[in-house]
């Protein structure tokens, strides 16, 4: 591993909670690791497993998916549907040998700027420990 290596982490944040949570972290001047790149999605239920796989293949070292807490979904049940996809995909990727921790999930509400920064720091720490993604990544 290169000494100055920093992981690239892609974060899919739901528009209504987690994205607003990230915004709050920003306006509150809460510090968090600069390793994440954010893509705003309407809902954590919008996450197609293809997004996660494509991200890993295209060169990110980890993926974070974050949405509203159970019961708080703007679309009532999008995060519940997303939860099942997340659970099965996470287990399947680990079964195949993709390290645990490469793909992570969280619930962050619009009021949880502090939790957002904490989640990002945790994910970054985990992925730093795992090192750069080698499996599955497309060599350019």
């Amino acid at each position: 591993m290169e000494k100055d290596w920093q992981p690239k982490i892609l974060a899919f944040l739901c528009n209504w909670c987690s994205y607003a949570g990230a915004d709050l972290a920003g306006t509150s001047r809460v510090q968090y690791s600069p390793n994440i790149r954010v893509i705003r999605v309407p809902c954590s239920g919008r996450i197609n497993p293809l997004f996660i796989l494509k991200a890993l293949q295209s060169g990110v070292d980890g993926v974070l998916v974050s949405g509203c807490h159970p019961g708080d979904c703007h679309y009532l049940s999008g995060n519940y549907a997303g939860r099942r996809k997340s659970a099965t995909l996470k287990r399947f990727l680990e079964f195949l040998g993709i390290e645990q921790g490469r793909v992570q999930f969280s619930w962050v509400s619009a009021a949880e700027g502090g939790k957002f920064s904490q989640v990002v720091d945790e994910v970054t720490r985990d992925i730093k420990r795992l090192g750069p993604l080698k499996k599955f990544k497309k060599s350019s």
């Binding site: 295209s58 060169g59 497309k138 350019s140």
Partner: protein, 349 residues
Amino acid sequence: MKLKLDKKNFEDFLKSLMEEYDLYAPVQPVEGVSVFKKIEQPSEVNLTQLVPQKPAKDIFFPQSEVMFCYEMAGKQSRMNSMEEIKRERILFGARPCDIEAISIIEKIFVGEEYTDVYFLEKRRKTTIIGLGCNHPLSTCFCSSAGGDPFLRAGSDLFFIDLGETYFVELLTEKGAALRKNRFFKEVDPNDLTLVKELEGKAFEKVGYSIPVEGIEKRLDLMTESSFWDRVHEKCIGCAVCTYLCPTCHCFDMVDEALNNKGQRVRNWDSCLFPIYSLETSGHNPRPTGRERTRQRLMHKFNYFPKNFGRVACVGCGRCILYCPVQFDIREALLYASAKRAKGLKRKFR
């Protein structure tokens, strides 16, 4: 020129070839799957599987081939075209059907109006050593498709397994370049009789079962035949038959780009995929399996013979052996020919 090679010296012989050439040959089946590959160690060569899954066309027209690549650095861009093949190559252990198929593909890729440099470069720099089939499989029908188990055409050298030795024939100038190989010995008159005997046996086994002669004329009358309504029914539309076919040569070119680099790649394509003929407008001139199956058979047995004077099938039997639903091209041909030729109504299943 006729020679022989003692099997005791087989690996050393291969090693001697590898000193001057890159050697390509079928390898030990992994999980029952054998392919032609560049050989690193002579012991890798394995001729047990009569027809390796992937045909020898892969050596001249690989499934996926980079044509050129590019790289951007700021406003500068750099292009690299395909690399020249530096070492001469030998294809060893291909069967007459696969070799015949290479000549068929050559008709397409090395034509009067257009020459495919990617194919030509490899073809020109490859010496082909064919291997006769002493024991053709029950799915082989090369004799019907214009070949035979010991067809020399296309080979530069031809090997025949005589048990303890290989009988070796040098057929072309390219092949003659190997005549000084230290492992080749004088041939016995007895060996010649043995060769005749083996050929006779193999010919008898393959037989002449499918009347392919003149099939293009019969198919001409069948464009709208109800035959096509039935023949496609069990086809599931995968590409096993086309990808494993030694004469199928369709490809698709795509640009693959990632970050500041990219490459143009050509990949095998199959007329059995709906997307093959799908137009940008969304219209598909071959909308169902009926049209797609018809295209596959018509291309092989009607358009190709009309354009090039030979059916685009060599009777290797791969499409029969590996089809997930046992689509048997022999039966389709029998049906097509019987119906017109003898008025026989053969039930197609």
